[in-house]
Symmetry: C2
Subunit: 346 residues, 2 copies
């Protein structure tokens, strides 16, 4: 019969999240008013309902969701807050939509320092501003010590479709494959940070909003067949999915795949293939070969895609969905890992 | 340097969630194809993008989110799956919207029996059907043993506004306060289940979709000032929030508050006030006194609100936001707990 009465911890706990912060009473209202709501301030959120009535919008709506369980909560180049904003905004962007509104579902572990929560909320505010989205509705739950790992975040997002939704089924033989910048940065930044690897320079996450790149391609009238941010499973997972969807194979030129020296060094040290390592601000693009020059010019004019390059092409179906042309010219099928080599990178 | 290579557990683990199920590789695709997607089958979900392009809709959209961390995962009257569907659908309903589309964000703990996941997915399918919503986009994460508690679910929802969004600021002195059925059922069902209390009859959660009740009021042309499902913090938290929003006090007739005998018995045994205990399929309604008879007739014709009764009225502001008239006629202010007496009921 014990355990159901919510314990209010004795003194010295004012600076950490308490169970009672999640239970609908006065402490919860205080946490919302003092820590969570101020950084998110906007008129839609101020409606203060269980639901937010959105302003009218014209295009069809796109809806997406992602939960974030990354560890550590903060890493070079971002934290769970910026990841939760950009990750969901990017899912909308690669669906051909302008990210507009997001929800914020927080699951906090009892004992989480309020300073960490404040840092994450500030990061959410900052990245939402950069991504052009508003946090319009939210929810906060607290679970007892040991029932979660610091904090988890869910963001769901709504955007307005600005172009026909890119579809991997539109990919054709002869299409070019582009990537908007060096791959594997996010995964290796998380790994180096989690394992406290002393490397110089430290890998930094590429966490950023991809919408400016999508928007620039659209405005320039570039014909796009498929778009995808290379998150869990890395660029390899995206290409494998595309190959399955369009019934063709993806041929990559290993010499063309952009990897920063610090990322490559760490991958080689650990025996990891950068193609399997997650990005959080880098996308793959499939488009007609005739569009490559124009697309690269457009992409390189946008900061988030300034490192865009041509990495391969779509070929008739082979035994493997993804094949790599190595330096000496031989074609090698890319293995599919059972799981990814890095858990909890997002 | 250990810990970053995703371990594939040795034999005997096929029937539980493994870390690799969450990492974007083949096992993850199998989990999606075998367990998670089949019960949710619908054409929108089959788009298979990172985002779902929604069909066109006319009314303004309402957007809401909630995370569910209830323990135990299954309880008399429901489980975390039905709770996650009805809870979010009800947030839309009390905002004056017809629930239409929801997202499903799963956070699974390594070692969760797949049988439990299958049960929850089946419950999601069933309750989504009853609530008239489609799960159109989703995300699955797996965290290591000890980093979560079985499973957490986030559902975000989009609905179409069918009436002016009820607002507590519209509440006027003299308004009547109704409740659609016996209160405190959900919280006491969770408590009895969690603490394995041997009581007969066992309290059963009221988890259900409230939209039919909202829709019936709307169709009958009943004038509604405020609507709210009485979840965390119970009916007391709703009335306190209304009192704050409209600058008046809420007077409850203690004799009128509907509480089932099994709920009341357990509350008395444990020294809990049913007004503070959560419901998950019961809402409070504030409306002009002249509408009471018609509203009760309409509500009682809908199964989810068949126990609707008048419980009080709105009075000019007193020292306490909520006051109770006890059996002998004296008015007693209702205390506000620091936290709720029951953590993790939703």
């Amino acid at each position: 019969m014990t355990g159901f009465v919510c314990p209010i911890p004795a003194g010295g706990t004012e600076d950490v999240v308490q169970l009672a912060h999640g239970e609908g009473g006065r402490l919860m209202r205080d946490l919302l008013q003092d820590v969570i709501l101020p950084p998110l301030h906007n008129e839609l959120l101020l409606q203060g309902h269980d639901g937010c009535v959105l302003p009218p919008f014209s295009g069809p709506a796109v809806f997406t969701t992602d939960s974030y369980v990354v560890t550590p909560l903060s890493f070079p180049g971002g934290d769970i807050g910026s990841l939760a904003v950009y990750g969901t905004a990017n899912d909308l962007a690669v669906s051909g939509a302008r990210p507009q509104w997001i929800s914020l579902g927080l699951i906090l572990e009892e004992g989480l320092p309020l300073s960490m929560l404040r840092q994450v909320m500030d990061s959410i505010r900052h990245s939402a501003e950069l991504a052009g989205v508003q946090v319009v509705t939210g929810d906060t739950k607290v679970v007892p010590r040991g029932a979660a790992d610091g904090m988890f975040i869910n963001t769901s997002g709504i955007g307005e479709l600005i172009m026909p939704c890119p579809q991997a089924t539109r990919i054709e033989t002869g299409d070019a494959l582009l990537v908007t910048g060096p791959i594997a940065r996010h995964g290796m930044a998380i790994l180096a940070s989690r394992e406290q690897l002393e490397v110089d320079p430290r890998p930094t996450s590429d966490t950023a909003s991809l919408f400016p790149a999508v928007d620039a391609l659209h405005r320039a009238g570039i014909q796009i067949h498929a778009l995808r941010d290379c998150t869990r499973g890395g660029m390899a997972a995206v290409l494998r999915e595309w190959a399955d969807a369009c019934g063709r194979s993806m041929l990559l030129e290993s010499q063309q795949i952009p990897v920063l020296p610090e990322t490559r060094g760490l991958c080689e040290l650990l025996g990891l293939d950068p193609l399997h390592i997650a990005c959080e601000g880098t996308m793959a693009v499939a488009l007609p070969a005739g569009q490559v020059a124009a697309a690269l010019q457009v992409l390189r004019s946008v900061p988030v895609a300034s490192g865009a390059v041509l990495v391969g092409e779509v070929i008739p179906q082979r035994l493997a969905p993804v094949v790599i042309r190595r330096a000496l010219g031989q074609l090698i099928p890319l293995d599919e890992p059972l799981g990814a080599p890095l858990p909890r990178i997002c």
